[in-house]
């Protein structure tokens, strides 16, 4: 396979438009229906943070600083080749960062409501999704048809079902693959050029993992402690805590956050009018920026049962106030509704606190004995 830069160049030469986004709130069906390639942009590496800090406060979360650092230095090829960036107001830091970004790139920011529960918020979000449709059509000089949307919904729903199937295989004991490998498998979806080919690759991976299960082998010995990871996105490059958990001998059996399954657990309802159904699916994302966020609790409660989790680790980036505060709610909820152990870890992308985190994680695992 060619490197991303070559693939991007070729696609652009062939007249393809590219849309970059950062967040699972960005309605990917619209990008696909506009005939464009959609990519999730780089934001999970430590290296560009120093460049991000030239314009942003140091006490911002590492994700915002990393994404901005990548963007401003042209180190993210997907950003470089994007015709449009779709941003979103998931936090104050990001929304102000997008203002700076719009100085050197076309950026459209979708303004999220504060809740997914109220009807007026739902109606408002639908209007934001409709606005994005117009922006995409104008910027990309494309027409988004109802038929195109229906097809895009079908393609992405199939991917979601494949991701659900893959994640579901982690219920096995012994756990077939490490959580870190699972993350890499899911991460590939951020950079897909050919969706049909990607779906085929997914199916192959699923059958490979099924073979591992059938052989009775696994990435960890049978009976290894089972941990669910939740909280902020822990993408490839920012999987420090996942690695520490697995180095300590426990299996990460489920990644609930945005780098993992959060975007795949609900489908777009194919029986409803496409725009309405798309708006509904994306607004239902159980992100801590929503207030209140009961869906995350209900969902975690179910996951703990389904995946027979011994513990839940809530990872929070320094400076992410909403996830940091919500951690108390998660802790209380799990204490009340399950027997699972809970650990809150606040960190960033650096390795400076790896030993301290290791001590916490080991103590957490020792609590389960």
């Amino acid at each position: 396979m060619s490197d991303p830069v070559t693939l991007l160049k070729k696609a652009k030469e062939a007249g393809k438009k590219v849309v970059g986004f950062y967040c699972v709130f960005a309605p990917q069906e619209l990008i696909l229906a506009a005939g464009a390639l959609g990519f999730s942009l780089c934001a999970t590496k430590e290296e560009p943070i120093a460049d991000g800090e030239k314009s942003l406060p140091r006490n911002f979360c590492p994700l915002i600083k990393s994404s901005y650092g990548f963007a401003v230095t042209d180190k993210c090829p997907y950003f470089l080749y994007s015709d449009l960036i779709v941003g979103e107001t998931t936090c104050d830091g990001k929304k102000k960062m997008f203002e700076l970004m719009s100085d050197f790139k076309p950026v459209h920011v979708m303004k999220l409501p504060q809740s997914y529960l109220d009807d007026n918020d739902k109606a408002y979000w639908l209007s934001e999704v409709e606005k994005l449709k117009t922006v995409l059509e104008t910027t990309l000089d494309a027409k988004i048809t109802e038929e195109g949307l229906v097809q895009a919904i079908r393609i992405l729903n199939e991917e979601r079902l494949l991701m659900q199937e893959l994640a579901g295989l982690m219920k096995a004991d012994p756990v077939p693959v490490t959580g870190q490998d699972l993350l890499k498998l899911m991460w590939g979806r951020n950079f897909v050029f050919d969706r049909a080919q990607f779906a085929e690759q997914m199916k192959e991976m699923i059958s490979d993992v099924k073979e591992i299960i059938a052989s009775g082998k696994g990435a960890f010995p049978k009976g290894a402690k089972r941990v669910i990871v939740t909280g902020v996105p822990t993408g490839v490059g920012a999987e420090k805590v996942l690695k520490i958990i697995e180095d300590c001998g426990a299996a990460v059996v489920y990644i609930e956050n945005c780098a993992g399954m959060k975007q795949f657990v609900t489908l777009v309802d194919e029986s409803k009018p496409p725009m309405e159904a798309i708006a509904e699916k994306y607004l239902n994302t159980p992100c801590s920026c929503m207030s209140p966020n009961p869906r995350r609790m209900e969902y975690l409660g179910q996951l703990v049962e389904d995946y027979r989790a011994d513990g839940v680790v809530d990872i929070v980036w320094q400076g992410c106030h909403t996830y940091n505060v919500e951690s108390r709610i998660v802790k209380d909820f799990l204490k009340k509704n399950s027997k699972t152990q809970f650990l809150h870890i606040e960190t960033d992308y650096s390795q400076g606190d790896a030993e301290q985190i290791k001590t916490r994680v080991q103590a957490f695992l020792e609590m389960m004995n």
Binding site: T359, A363, M367
Partner: protein, 263 residues
């Protein structure tokens, strides 16, 4: 040499000191040494001294558990466990029925909820900064020209007001203290302010685990009676410092080692 009895050891290799506890089911003894720049060598030397004093040799140890920061780098250990688990066990051995263990060592602080068996049910640990730890006190005492003993001999004059220290970052707090000295504040007023600020920070951290009495204070900093009083005051609960509180981690490790050879 008592040949029929199994002897186990717990080694707590902390950031500042190394502690060794030997145990044979009835007899228990503990030793302490400085960690220095080579904690592995210091721990080895201390363990050797301990076995000689006990009347055995290294081969006479049936099981050795290492804990503390240096646990990953200790020779002779059969297994390593975290200081969180060991302090809970040790704290509950030193004070049976303990509900919460507060352990403050050279470079970290922890609050641990403990069940009736000395098992951890919840814990919280300070993040990577040194605020509220032994190192913090050391840096400030140094700026005030005080040593560990001198620090505890300070007393407020009648009617003297305690200084308020706002910075919790060790480096910033040092600057703040120097500023206060230059404004003419006394060392005792500044040091009392430091204890207040550390106690506030520890109590705020511990609030997450809902501390339950009785509270036992362990680790090197437990020997600081002034900080202990400040903790009691802020927590509004008695804070117990058992004899051997400094050894709680090593004792816990030795007890877990004993479990290993008797299970």
């Amino acid at each position: 040499m008592e040949v029929n009895k199994k002897i186990v050891a717990g080694i707590d290799a902390g950031s500042t000191t190394v502690k060794v506890t030997l145990y044979d089911g009835t007899r228990m003894e503990s030793w302490l040494g400085l960690a220095g720049w080579n904690p592995r060598a210091e721990a080895t030397a201390l363990l050797q001294q301990a076995v000689v004093n006990w009347g055995t040799d290294l081969d006479g140890l049936a099981y050795v558990i290492g804990t503390g920061y240096g646990r990953v780098n200790l020779p002779f250990v059969s297994k390593s466990m975290t200081e969180i688990t060991c302090h809970a066990k040790g704290g509950s051995f030193l004070y049976p029925g303990v509900g919460t263990v507060i352990d403050i060592g050279g470079q970290d602080a922890k609050a641990i909820r403990v069940d009736g068996n000395g098992k951890v049910t919840d814990f919280i640990m300070n993040d990577k900064c040194a605020a509220g730890t032994g190192r913090f006190i050391q840096v400030i005492a140094n700026a005030l020209g005080l040593d560990v003993v001198g620090m505890l001999q300070l007393e407020l004059l009648p009617g003297e007001e305690v200084c308020t220290i706002n910075s919790m970052c060790t480096v910033f707090a040092e600057s703040e203290v120097i500023g206060l000295l230059n404004q003419g504040h006394s060392r005792q007023a500044i040091m009392a302010g430091i204890y207040q600020s550390i106690a506030s920070r520890i109590i705020a951290m511990a609030a997450t685990i809902c501390p339950e009495a009785p509270v036992v204070f362990t680790g090197g900093v437990s020997q600081n009676v002034c900080l202990c009083a400040a903790l009691e005051n802020k927590l509004n609960m008695p804070v117990i410092v058992p004899d051997k509180a400094v050894f709680a981690g090593a004792i816990g490790a030795a007890l877990y080692a004993w479990d290993e050879v008797t299970k």
